[in-house]
């Protein structure tokens, strides 16, 4: 970890004792809110301010009828929820321990109550000429007043607005003694430092006349606009989330092409949630394309089929791309003939098939969710609870990926047939197809192929990550809230990915098992990126060789490979893996150019809380994860995490939150079983 030397950035402290006693003289029953603090090295869960308050109050502390610690009290969305859920009718006033932001916020929410502040903010600028000092993520000693007319170019990179106690812009006041400031002897004279620095840099910089600071420059109107724009973006469509760079332009216009035949395929027996399939073949066996080579075991499991015709070479353990551990796979050598198995028969009478027969086909053909989760589709479709709504997920909010986009553009008819089959099985009354508005072509293509009048509704959704997560999607489209730890089924909804719907069509109408899928190959250093129809079991190395330029050794050094997109994709330690049913894409990303791990201590900046779409407090997962106190994360509802990766993406300390969260979730689910 990088060595860090962070400054103390305490934003508030309790008011003087007499003032607090004075406040308490005037109240009878008071409720206290106290902020968990921000921008502070996260070392322990301190409640020093509250304890100190009790000490000051002594007998008077009996007047406190309740207290609540709220992390990031100024987060007006989450804190409002917490505050309004409380019954405060029993108290005559409310006390707040926080900086001025928290107090003003509470006073606004509880307009009818007398709100007392029990703390003073701690000035950060150290300079009377500008009030604000630190901002943003910084916990370093550099400060910025956001004066909107940066003088650093003239002053060798030392800011006179913030470092000179008088905020002088045109040179020293003349009062400095031995390089120390006359206002605050602890400080160096900023102008002496500026002089030294500029001298050091040589003739490039000269001190010339500086224009008078224009206090009207931070235009109120502009500020108001930017501020409201930022706030709308934060809460648009759903709370939290992100707007990462889409990077879809590289591949979104590339038509789906057939990927060259692999010479050998590695077909894993675990390509779904649930129990591993049982192998049906042994080394030396001849198999045909589409032949079943793995039998489902148990209810939550599916069959596995050969994606080529040829000879089984061996059954051995290979690195699994999703589990990132060795797992059993069937290795088959391609004979290049692509002989079809006899079980593959197109069916014209599929409209007459009963619900049970359709389900049987979907199970037999090994269909799983193709959005990445690989949940067996027949389990999802044979819902034990009543379902009235089917949502087809065409959001594809993950950056870089565009395979679902291409499927919607090129196969709208097939998608609609697939939807009809699925909704017949479910008995769904309403069908929605949700597509993000960054895919106008897909939206148009779907709309064009839709027969009218139709019970299907195409919904254009705002582009925001993770709009495609089930929880966000269901809430946005049906306005139903999935309960904690619940599934869409609990609110009568089933969500299927567009790719899955296409697979259902292929299985039922064409008789084709799930032996190939559309995959986006994207990222940096691409020579032939695009969307390809790739056979399941194709080695990643084949794809890398075909699509990326450069020597493998160089690629290994400078790039990392993710299965899926950059946000939720699984980092591939070993490139000797092969394509599975849940591979939505392969993305090549540049590694950090630095050698040391960029990770550093959590500074409680709260940005993870800002972006978490399921309204969790991920900083605690990092905190307890680092201490290996896995069980503590459960108290912070780690099981609700959807692993969207927003927190890790935004983390200013570059903590690998996802890996910690995955461990904590595992721990939580194990402890539930016992």
């Amino acid at each position: 970890m990088l060595e860090t030397n962070l400054v103390d950035y305490t934003k508030f402290r309790l008011k003087p004792e007499e003032e607090i006693r004075e406040i308490f003289r005037g109240v009878n029953r008071i409720f206290i809110f106290w902020c968990g603090k921000c921008y502070k090295k996260f070392e322990e869960e301190a409640q020093e301010e509250y304890d100190e308050l009790l000490k000051i109050l002594g007998e008077d502390s009996k007047k406190i009828v309740g207290q609540l610690k709220i992390d990031f009290l100024c987060n007006n969305f989450l804190s409002k929820k917490k505050i309004s859920s409380l019954d405060l009718s029993g108290c005559d006033s409310v006390g707040v321990i926080s900086c001025g932001l928290g107090v003003q916020f509470v006073a606004q929410v509880l307009e009818e109550k007398a709100v007392h502040t029990l703390a003073d903010s701690v000035p950060q600028s150290g300079n009377a000429a500008s009030e604000v000092g630190y901002h943003g993520i910084s916990l370093e000693k550099e400060k910025c007043a956001g004066c909107s007319q940066c003088y650093l170019n003239l002053t060798g990179g030392i800011c006179p607005v913030i470092n000179c106690a008088k905020g002088l812009l045109n040179g020293p006041c003349g009062g400095a003694k031995d390089g120390g400031c006359e206002v605050n002897p602890d400080l160096d004279c900023a102008w002496e430092k500026i002089y030294e620095r500029v001298k050091k840099q040589g003739k490039g910089l000269t001190l010339e006349s500086i224009q008078i600071r224009d206090y009207s420059k931070p235009l109120l109107k502009l500020k108001a606009e930017l501020s409201s724009e930022n706030q709308t973006l934060r809460e648009e469509s759903f709370y939290g989330g992100l707007y990462p760079l889409e990077k879809k332009e590289e591949t979104e216009d590339k038509k789906i092409e057939d990927f060259p035949e692999p010479k050998v395929v590695t077909i894993f027996l675990s390509q779904h949630t649930g129990r591993k399939a049982r192998p049906l073949v042994k080394p030396g066996d001849k198999v045909k394309m589409g032949e079943k080579i793995g039998e489902a075991q148990g209810y939550i499991s599916t069959s596995i089929h050969s994606s080529i015709s040829g000879k089984v070479i061996s059954l051995e353990e290979r690195p699994h791309p999703a589990a990132q551990a060795k797992d059993l796979a069937i290795i088959i050598e391609n004979d290049g003939k692509n002989q079809l198995d006899l079980s593959i028969q197109p069916r014209k009478d599929f409209e007459n098939l009963a619900k049970e027969d359709l389900l049987k086909i979907i199970r037999e053909k090994g269909i799983v969710g193709l959005g990445g989760a690989m949940f067996p589709t027949y389990v999802k479709l044979s819902s034990p609870k009543p379902v009235d709504t089917l949502i087809v997920n065409g959001c594809e909010c993950e950056p870089y990926l565009s395979c679902d986009n291409r499927i919607m553009i090129e196969h709208p008819e097939e998608i609609f047939t697939g939807i009809r089959i699925a909704s017949k099985i479910l008995g769904a009354k309403r069908v929605f197809i949700g597509v993000e508005d960054n895919k106008p072509e897909a939206l148009a293509s779907l709309k064009d192929s839709l027969d009218r009048p139709s019970s299907f509704e195409i919904v254009s959704l705002k582009t925001k990550y993770p709009q495609g997560a089930e929880k966000m999607l269901v809430k946005k489209i049906t306005n139903r809230e999935i309960p904690e730890k619940g599934l869409p089924l609990d609110v009568g909804v089933v969500v299927l990915n567009v790719g899955t719907v296409l697979a259902i069509y292929e299985a039922v109408v064409e008789g084709l098992p799930l032996i190939q899928r559309v995959v986006t190959i994207s990222g940096e250093n691409l020579s032939k990126g695009g969307n390809y129809l790739v056979k399941i079991g194709t080695p990643f190395k084949d794809i890398i060789q075909y699509c990326f330029s450069g020597e493998e050794k160089e690629l290994l050094e400078r790039y990392e490979l993710k299965m899926g997109g950059p946000m939720m994709g699984v980092f591939q330690v070993n490139w000797d893996s092969a394509l599975i049913k849940g591979t939505t894409g392969l993305t090549f990303l540049k590694k950090y150019p630095i050698e040391a791990s960029p990770e550093r201590d959590c500074i409680r900046c709260g940005r993870c809380v800002e972006v978490c779409p399921v309204e969790l407090y991920p900083l605690y997962y990092a905190f307890y994860g680092k201490r290996k106190e896995w069980e503590k994360a459960k108290e912070y509802k780690v099981e609700n995490c959807i692993e969207c990766g927003c927190c890790e993406f935004i983390c200013s300390s570059k903590i690998s939150l996802l890996s910690l969260i995955k461990k904590e979730k595992q721990y939580a689910s194990n402890s539930n079983k016992t």
């Binding site: 100024c74 007006n76 950060q124 009377a128 009030e131 604000v132 930017l226």
Partner: protein, 202 residues
């Protein structure tokens, strides 16, 4: 939690020292207003030779920035000026880490309300060191009154709006209304000591 604006081009170009430039582009606190397109355009139109470019986030993270300076050291060595696209903190970090290079910025930093807390919002806190909110019904006169008055309205408000910025409400009228609602108008009769600016540096 802050906004960045690109400085007028002439202003920056006039300051560039030598013909070779290395560029640091901070993509910022990610969800914050940062004009990436303007930055790209600016870089494209540079006539100077670009010896290298590092794009990173959280340039204000000193140790991270130091590692980047190390990783790109040969390219930076060849350059005569280091041009930084970031907020004021990022520029100061880079210039304090490479003191003998001319470090320039092409950006102005604009302060948005509430940015010292968690999110951009309608509230603001100037960290004055002596919170007045107890006397003003939870509405801050320092940040909400254009003149920062502590002892009541200036008298210039028209129809409840501020005379300086007609879109803003007069903070003191809001304070009066809030206190009236709470039945605590007598607070306004209390005489408070003058604001102690010394607290800012103590």
């Amino acid at each position: 939690m802050l906004a960045i604006q690109i400085k007028p081009e002439e202003e920056v170009l006039a300051k560039i020292f030598g013909k070779k430039v290395f560029i640091f582009e901070c993509i910022g606190c990610k969800e914050v207003y940062f004009p990436r397109e303007d930055v790209e355009k600016f870089i494209k139109e540079l006539k100077e030779e670009i010896t290298g470019k590092a794009v990173l986030d959280y340039l204000c993270n000193r140790e991270f920035a130091r590692e980047y300076l190390r990783a790109y050291s040969s390219q930076i060595k060849r350059a005569e000026t280091v041009l930084v696209f970031s907020c004021g903190v990022g520029v100061q970090v880079i210039s304090s880490l490479s003191e003998d290079k001319a470090v320039l910025t092409a950006c102005d930093t604009l302060y948005l309300n509430g940015f010292q807390g968690l999110r951009v919002q309608d509230f603001n806190c100037n960290q004055c060191g002596e919170c007045y909110l107890n006397y003003t019904g939870g509405i801050c006169p320092i940040t909400n009154c254009s003149k920062g008055l502590l002892n009541g309205p200036c008298g210039g408000a028209k129809d409840g709006k501020c005379e300086i910025n007609s879109e803003a409400d007069c903070a003191w009228i809001l304070i009066y209304k809030r206190l009236k609602k709470l039945g605590k108008l007598d607070i306004l009769k209390k005489i408070l000591p003058a604001r102690d600016y010394h607290k800012i540096i103590s």
